[in-house]
């Protein structure tokens, strides 16, 4: 039995506006270290909602959530921010880099925030990760001059900067063409297999999901297959 990184226990969530609609019903599952898990399901089945609860950004839910064997439920906002900074790496559908900064600075930001390493070390680590993703030549370019695929790879480098316990992705290939989507997928696969990195990716790309280690399928706010 390998180490459990993420554990969800009986998570329920409802939207209350304008009438109460349950969106997540009794979700329980675990993710082990080194697993590459994809969550699939139709639009509106609650998979993104689930991801944002798991990411600690959404705190309005019932149930319990553990990351790295630490409960996330009822923690203060500042504490959760610190946990996100340290333990969770994010990759979103729309890249979301800070346009005021260069690619390198974007990667460095969470590292500087964590303050575990000196600025030089953070810069060194950021360059290492950009190199690993094959985009070190873009390091000094402003974020708004990068292409979509490049941006997404910079975002992955940023997610990796603090050696997170888990990387979460919300449709990370959803906005990319086939070739770039493939590149991103290959990077994820490589991270999981070579570096034993835990990944939890929400997607509706069934091919992407098929190639991951494990699929969690959702429908109408429930897990129907895992």
């Amino acid at each position: 039995m390998s180490e459990i990184i993420l554990q969800a226990k009986n998570i329920n969530k409802s939207f209350h506006d304008p009438i109460t609609i349950p969106v997540l019903k009794d979700i329980s599952f675990t993710v082990n270290k080194g697993e590459f898990v994809s969550v699939i399901g139709k639009s509106g089945c609650g998979k993104s909602t689930l991801l944002y609860i798991l990411s600690t950004m959404d705190t309005d839910y019932q149930g319990e959530l553990f990351i790295d064997n630490e409960t996330m439920t009822n923690k203060k906002e500042a504490k959760l921010a610190q946990i996100r900074n340290q333990k969770i790496g994010f990759v979103f559908q729309f890249h979301y880099l800070l346009n005021e900064f260069t690619a390198l600075q974007n990667v460095m930001l969470p590292g500087l925030k964590l303050k575990k390493y000196s600025e030089q070390e953070v810069e060194h680590r950021a360059m290492e990760r950009l190199k690993k993703l094959g985009i070190e030549q873009l390091a000094l370019k402003p974020a708004n001059q990068l292409s979509g695929g490049e941006k997404q790879r910079v975002a992955i480098a940023r997610a990796l900067i603090n050696d997170p316990a888990i990387i979460m992705g919300d449709e990370p290939t959803g906005n990319l063409d086939k070739r770039n989507g493939q590149i991103v997928f290959d990077i994820f696969k490589q991270l999981a297999e070579e570096l034993n990195q835990t990944l939890l990716i929400v997607t509706h790309d069934s091919e992407f999901a098929r190639n991951s280690h494990r699929i969690i399928e959702m429908e109408d706010g429930r897990i129907i297959k895992q």
């Binding site: 906002e77 500042a78 921010a81 946990i83 729309f94 979301y96 346009n99």
Partner: protein, 419 residues
């Protein structure tokens, strides 16, 4: 907290929107500049107008008022002690106008630590003989050195030299209006008739212009010795002692004290010139309120621009939060942005305000009534600069606080999902 990181993020966001933030900073610059200029100019003018009277007025004046005696003889008699005495038709007696024992009073006052200095004075009502008409006037016998030191007498002597009234015997400095009426100039001799009916020739050594026509038409100055000679009095004769204090606010209290101590009448400057105090404080309030209004308007400008900036930066805020920046960090970033705008704008405003006041200080301002003034008056009180600086920081902080709190409450999930 990682301040270096917060500052570098704020800096990048500021520079990314340089034009917008410059406009906000210019708003602060403009208002601080106007605040400084307005107050410097207004208080400069206030000081000028107050100085017109107050500079030349003693803080405490000791004299003997002509008035009916409070102590009527019957009241001091032991026989009538327990009765209520009506004395009809009490009149002031033409008793001595001089201060009793003036020498001793002056010595005592000089020893008082609260006193900056004193100047004795004799005022003698006279007639100036100008051919067929006699013009009523007053000759003030003064100690010209003390008078110049404490009451800037020198500044108002527009022709001739004031010290000559001490050096040249039987000499006089005439008010400008009076000199014009008598058609005399320096070197001429005027005939003076005292209230006792004696005639005296006095040599004009200077012309005096106070800026107040009413004064210039009647007042003239001679040395104390000359005035004593005019009145036929000995050299102890002093009618007024003018006292200047270190702290003008103590005047009423000291006046009361001296009045009891020396058994004379004592008048303080606040009582004698209450209207000036009121006028200048009202003018100061007006200038402060205009200046502060300007700053508040600038504050709203900053508030608006930061608000807009936050709407534009929603995505960046969401990203910062998703990657581990807390609401507090985000709030700090925007407060740093606001304060940077405030501090840079404020500093420029102080500089610009200083330059603008210096420019105004160079504009010629000549009026016949104000001989010592050649340019518009400006008061370079550092107090205004300190108030301006503090206020610019406070307004920008408040203007930044509300948008920043809003930014700190941005829910990243809504932004990231909403696209």
């Amino acid at each position: 907290m990682n301040y270096k990181l917060i500052f570098s993020i704020s800096k990048s966001m500021l520079l990314a929107r340089l034009r917008q933030t410059s406009v906000a900073a210019i708003g602060v610059t403009f208002s601080i500049c106007m605040f400084i200029t307005l107050l410097s100019f207004m208080t400069g003018l206030n000081d000028l107008l107050d100085g017109l009277i107050l500079n030349r007025t003693a803080h405490v004046r000791l004299f003997n008022e002509i008035k009916p005696n409070d102590k009527q003889p019957i009241n001091t008699s032991a026989d009538f002690k327990n009765t209520y005495n009506f004395v009809q038709s009490v009149k002031a007696v033409n008793s001595r106008k001089e201060l009793y024992n003036s020498e001793a009073i002056m010595n005592a006052v000089k020893k008082d630590d609260r006193v900056l200095g004193l100047a004795p004075k004799i005022s003698a009502p006279v007639f100036f003989n100008g051919g067929s008409v006699d013009i009523a006037g007053v000759i003030n016998g003064i100690d010209v050195e003390a008078e110049s030191k404490l009451f800037f007498f020198n500044d108002y002597v527009v022709k001739g030299t004031s010290i000559d009234i001490k050096n040249v015997s039987n000499s006089i400095v005439l008010g400008k209006g009076l000199a014009d009426k008598l058609l005399v100039n320096i070197g001429d001799v005027v005939q003076v008739i005292t209230s006792q009916g004696e005639q005296f020739p006095l040599k004009v050594v200077g012309i005096f212009q106070s800026g107040l026509n009413d004064i210039d038409k009647v007042q003239s100055f001679a040395s104390i010795a000359t005035a004593q000679k005019l009145l036929g009095k000995n050299n102890n004769y002093i009618t007024d002692i003018q006292i200047k204090l270190h702290d003008v606010k103590q005047a009423p209290e000291i006046a009361k004290e001296y009045s009891q101590l020396f058994e004379t009448d004592a008048e303080d400057i606040q009582t004698a010139n209450s209207q000036f105090e009121t006028g200048s404080s009202v003018r100061t309030i007006i200038s402060y309120s205009v200046g502060i209004t300007l700053l508040i308007v600038a504050g709203f400008g900053i508030y608006n621009i930061l608000n807009m900036m936050i709407y534009e930066k929603m995505e960046s805020i969401a990203i910062l939060k998703a990657t581990g920046f807390s609401g507090k960090d985000v709030q700090l970033i925007f407060i740093v942005i606001a304060l940077t705008i405030g501090i840079i704008g404020g500093l420029l405003g102080l500089l610009l305000g200083f330059s603008l006041s210096s420019v105004i200080d160079q504009i010629p301002f000549n009026t016949a009534s104000l001989p010592t003034i050649t340019t518009y008056p400006i008061n370079y009180n550092p107090k205004f600069y300190i108030i301006g600086a503090i206020f610019s920081v406070i307004t920008t902080f408040l203007a930044g606080w509300f948008p920043a709190s809003k930014a700190s409450k941005v829910d990243p999930v809504i932004i990231i999902r909403g696209k």
